[in-house]
Amino acid sequence: MGVGEVKETESYRERIARRAAMEVEDGMIINLGIGIPTLVADFIPADKRVMFHAENGILGTGPSPAKGEENAMLCNAGGFPVTLVPGASFFDSATAFAIIRRGLLDMTILGVLEVSQNGDIANWIVPGKRVPGMGGAMELAQKAKKVMVVTTHLDKNGRSKIVRECSLPLTASKAANWIITDMAVMEVKPDGLYLREVMYPYSVADVIGATEAELKVEGEVGVFR
């Protein structure tokens, strides 16, 4: 399935991933987080050639292998078996993070617990409740050239995950460039958070009403279907 084709049964997760994939440019080196970010790979059109980076030491991961053809030693950072594309390479985890810190990652796509209107990201700890650890998220959020957040707009309790200021400990400050949710596409600029598109069938008023952060609107807001 390519960009622009809408499945009747498309889930909100797939729609977010399909929209995020439109920001991917030919030739990019990209790291995908676990969850919705992983789905983005399925929506990148064939005419855009990219290389996916994995923190455990692969540049050039390909699609999931067919059942029964998995190599248990060849996995992505989430622990799931992957394949390789031509030109792929293996290296140790220090080199995997050299690529990130050196600024050679064009884009990272990751999920969040909270993201603020100035781009602060919180995604690794809910003190006293859930403490999985930061993994590679600090390096990714701090060092990737473009940081794309993909998330549900609201948390399980119906609260906006797009906030004025993060209440949870930060992963990185002023890191996010784009935020794509099931309700909206937003861009973080130095002077604030801009609403660029709404996800059909939500209206601009719906999105502003559901968002705790201050959302700026300039010009025409697109509708993504």
């Binding site: 030693m73 622990g79 985890s93 993070f97 600090m138």
Partner: protein
Amino acid sequence: MTNRFDKVVTLQEALSHFRDGMTLLAGGFGGVGNPPTLIQGILDLGVRDLILISNDTAFPHIGIGKLVTERRVKKVIASHIGSNPNAGAQMTAGELEVEFCPQGILAERVRAGGVGLGGILSDVGIGTIAEKGKQKVVLDGKEYLLETPLTAEVAIVHAKKADRFGNLVYDTSARNFNPLVAMAGDITIVEADEIVEVGELDPEEIVTPGVFVNYIVQSEGVNWRWAWEK
């Protein structure tokens, strides 16, 4: 001196280097590249109160995660424990001390320990709670955190192939932390899927030179089911 050109020992000989309360460095990432036979040996040996340095705590019944599940670890230095709920539960109950370190910084700290450096400077985590307790260094007007090196009394490593000198070749993404860990043990013990004679490995393909390795044991292979296997 042990024979430097034949470091292959029995599992029992290798296990003579483990004791209660020791620091243990383990290669692997999400269980991939954890050495299964050595880990089973450590479990069977019954050592406890380990200080484990590893990227993560794997899964409850996979790899290094089993040491946590069986309550053999009193402290872990890792970047992530989320895939092993036992680690989180023990931490919440105050039974397991966890020191979190950003993944790439953990890799560099292990590398620093392994390559004889006194510390490294990085700006990763500045402005977050990851900077807590770390010395700040200003260099050319830019602020860095001083990250300290990590070594351990014993480092355990998985390799696809080892020759008897300890030259190592890894297995695809099971390489991950293993080459770093291999350099950072006071004693480095390698578990290899295949052990070959000195001279059989192409020098161009060797990732870890054997000089870093003290002992080699033959792997008996993975003895767990992977999380993705249904």
